[in-house]
């Protein structure tokens, strides 16, 4: 069991409010990702849940019990750190078993659990090595092994993949998601990478400046962003924002349209502009277009499209894929 509820959680460092009135429910067994730009407070929020920082106000309930005054080890959570934070002088075996040893478990039980965890993570051949004799991905797995062996109520991941190279990151992303699914343990995962968030999460929490901007499943955030921040943060390349008046929609201050929801054509379309940069990545072509009063637009065109900078191009937005925002940046929900 591992249901985590945050009620009015706040954190200030000196005069700076880092976390402002956060209310959130993390359901048992779900995979929740905190995502946001650097300095949005996502790591701080995770550390508050872990107990590595004290909350300034509010409650943190784990399975209904307020743990605000409980030390980290007693909260029944385990954490995977960005730097892995392995113990360099201990073997992989001792690293994974350290938590159990501190809990005073019998040696036979520790050995059994460590070996089971190592088998799950393909670490068995490396059990007697020191961390420095392991590759980045193996170290990462030791850190995960250390977390799972304690059979926690929830895993906390603090940007665990940011020190890995791109290929390994994709592989570990899949491994972590699969592991969490198998174990069925609640997981809270912090990242600044929205691709990681979209691919791994059951539920994404978008944070900005210490506030929750929106909570929802990946596709909810993609299809129905609550505000300009979420609209701009989720999706790659970024959503285009066009002043409402210029786009012929005086009812909205800003309209947003994703690059993949604009059809580019050489002959005709609603809008027109001049190509400034064309990026050919094979499967897609990304066009950066100067569209006069509409501003600079990004368009994703599937497949190869033989356009060059300076070419005139026409664009047609996909109907029903246009997001409308009021002057305060909130989404206008009613359809027009």
């Amino acid at each position: 069991m591992g249901k985590i509820v945050l009620e009015g959680v706040e954190k200030t460092f000196g005069a700076i409010k880092v976390i402002q009135n956060v209310n959130l429910t993390v359901d048992d067994g779900s995979f929740v990702v905190f995502v946001g730009p650097s300095g949005c407070g996502k790591s701080t929020l995770l550390r508050l849940i872990a107990g590595l920082e004290d909350v300034t106000a509010g409650k943190i309930l784990i399975d209904g019990v307020d743990v605000v005054n409980t030390p980290p080890a007693k909260r029944g959570l385990s954490m995977v750190f960005q730097s892995y934070a392995l113990y360099p002088h201990m073997s992989v075996r001792s690293n994974i078993g350290f938590g159990l040893k501190m809990a005073g478990r019998p040696k036979a039980e520790i050995d059994r659990k460590v070996e089971a965890a190592a088998a799950t993570l393909n670490l068995t051949p490396y059990l007697d090595r020191r961390p420095r004799a392991l590759s980045g991905g193996q170290r990462q797995r030791v850190a995960i092994g250390r977390a799972i062996v304690r059979e926690p109520k929830a895993f906390l991941f603090d940007e665990p993949l940011s020190n890995l190279d791109a290929a390994l990151r994709v592989q570990m992303r899949i491994e972590i998601a699969r592991l969490q699914d198998t174990l069925g343990t609640t997981a809270i995962y912090v990242t600044h990478d929205q691709v990681e968030a979209m691919t791994m999460a059951d539920k994404i929490v978008v944070l900005s400046a210490g506030r929750i901007e929106q909570v929802g499943s990946p596709l909810e955030l993609y299809n129905k962003p609550d505000n300009l921040f979420v609209a701009g943060f989720i999706g790659s390349p970024k959503m285009n924002f066009i002043p409402g008046a210029a786009a012929g929609d005086p009812g909205a201050a800003t309209i947003g349209i994703r690059p993949e929801h604009i059809a580019a054509s050489r002959d005709s379309g609603t809008w027109s502009g001049t190509v400034t940069v064309a990026e050919h990545v094979g499967s897609d072509t990304f066009l950066y277009i100067n569209a006069g009063p509409l501003g600079d637009l990004t368009v994703r065109s599937v497949g190869e499209m033989g356009v060059k900078p300076g070419d005139r191009i026409f664009m047609t937005p996909e109907p029903g894929r246009i997001h409308r925002f009021d002057p305060a940046g909130h989404a206008i929900v009613a359809a027009h």
Partner: protein, 290 residues
């Protein structure tokens, strides 16, 4: 950058210093070895010539040698123990966040900047003097008889003085190592359920192992040759109670005017230092392998 050219240049540039250092070391060593096999007493200039191993025989069989040898070991080991344990303790304290941290750190380091002679004189006159020293004043205030430290506990007093001088060095090295301990590693251990004591023994102390090794190796080199502190306080006495091997060599050469015997003592001291160094490196040096 290891082309043929740079290697040749490096060798050419290194040569003068290597030659100077070599001459600098080899001349005194050869002279000492030479004198150690000569009958050479300043009080008896007529009796000279080859002495064979008699200088060594007399030096090694003299009861003062055994006493000095034991004193050297006791002095070195005690000072090492005090400075390493005290250094870890002080470093842990200095690592806490307090007001005036910078000033406290400088104050802790300062004894290291005081030259041994001055430090020993301050201890002898200001602190340990049985008539007007601060310790004596404290003892009388508390109703005890003042202790004549340098007469009654000469070796212990020297250990105190030398440990006071070397504590800052140990503190500084260990403190630096302590600051390089990754904060996340401590947090990971606290998530794993390690309390303060387990955190110290399982995480902090192993992290400090290399720094402690450096402290032990460097201090040993200097502690085997403690001299000024003995000269200005006890003069090796009473009897030979606070004489170490370095002081015994001095005693032989400049108080007994026996240059031959002192040279033999010097050679013995070099050999002993090498034996100690050998075992030390075997025992603690393995911590230095990265």
């Amino acid at each position: 950058m290891a082309t043929q050219n740079t290697r040749k240049l490096a060798r050419a540039m290194l040569t003068p210093s290597v030659v100077i250092l070599f001459v600098w070391m080899i001349v005194p060593l050869v002279l000492t070895l030479w004198y150690s096999f000569q009958s050479y007493n300043l009080l008896n200039p007529v009796n000279n010539g080859w002495a064979g191993f008699s200088n060594y025989y007399y030096f090694l069989t003299d009861p003062s040698f055994t006493e000095a040898f034991v004193n050297t070991l006791v002095l070195t080991i005690s000072v090492l123990a005090i400075t390493v344990i005290g250094g870890i303790f002080l470093a842990l304290l200095l690592d806490q966040h307090i007001v005036g941290q910078g000033i406290v750190r400088i104050l802790v380091i300062s004894p290291f900047f005081i030259m041994p002679t001055v430090a020993a004189l301050v201890w002898k006159n200001m602190l340990m003097d049985p008539n007007y020293g601060i310790f004596a004043w404290l003892a009388t205030r508390l109703g005890f008889a003042p202790i004549a430290w340098l007469q009654d506990y000469p070796l212990f007093s020297i250990i105190l003085i030398v440990a006071w001088q070397w504590l800052p060095f140990a503190t500084l090295i260990i403190f630096t190592a302590l600051q390089s301990l990754d904060e996340e590693r401590k947090e990971a251990a606290s998530m794993d359920g390690a309390g303060a004591i387990n955190l110290f023994f399982y995480i902090v102390l192993p992290h400090l192992a290399r720094a402690i090794t450096v402290v032990i190796l460097i201090e040993t080199i200097f502690l085997l040759g403690v001299f000024a502190e003995i000269l200005v306080t006890t003069g090796g006495g009473p009897g030979f109670a606070s004489t170490n091997i370095a002081y015994l060599v001095y005693h032989q050469a400049l108080l007994d005017y026996d240059v031959g015997g002192a040279s033999a003592g010097g050679v013995v001291a070099v050999i002993l230092a090498n034996i100690v160094a050998f075992f030390l490196v075997r025992i603690v040096g393995k911590n230095l392998d990265a």
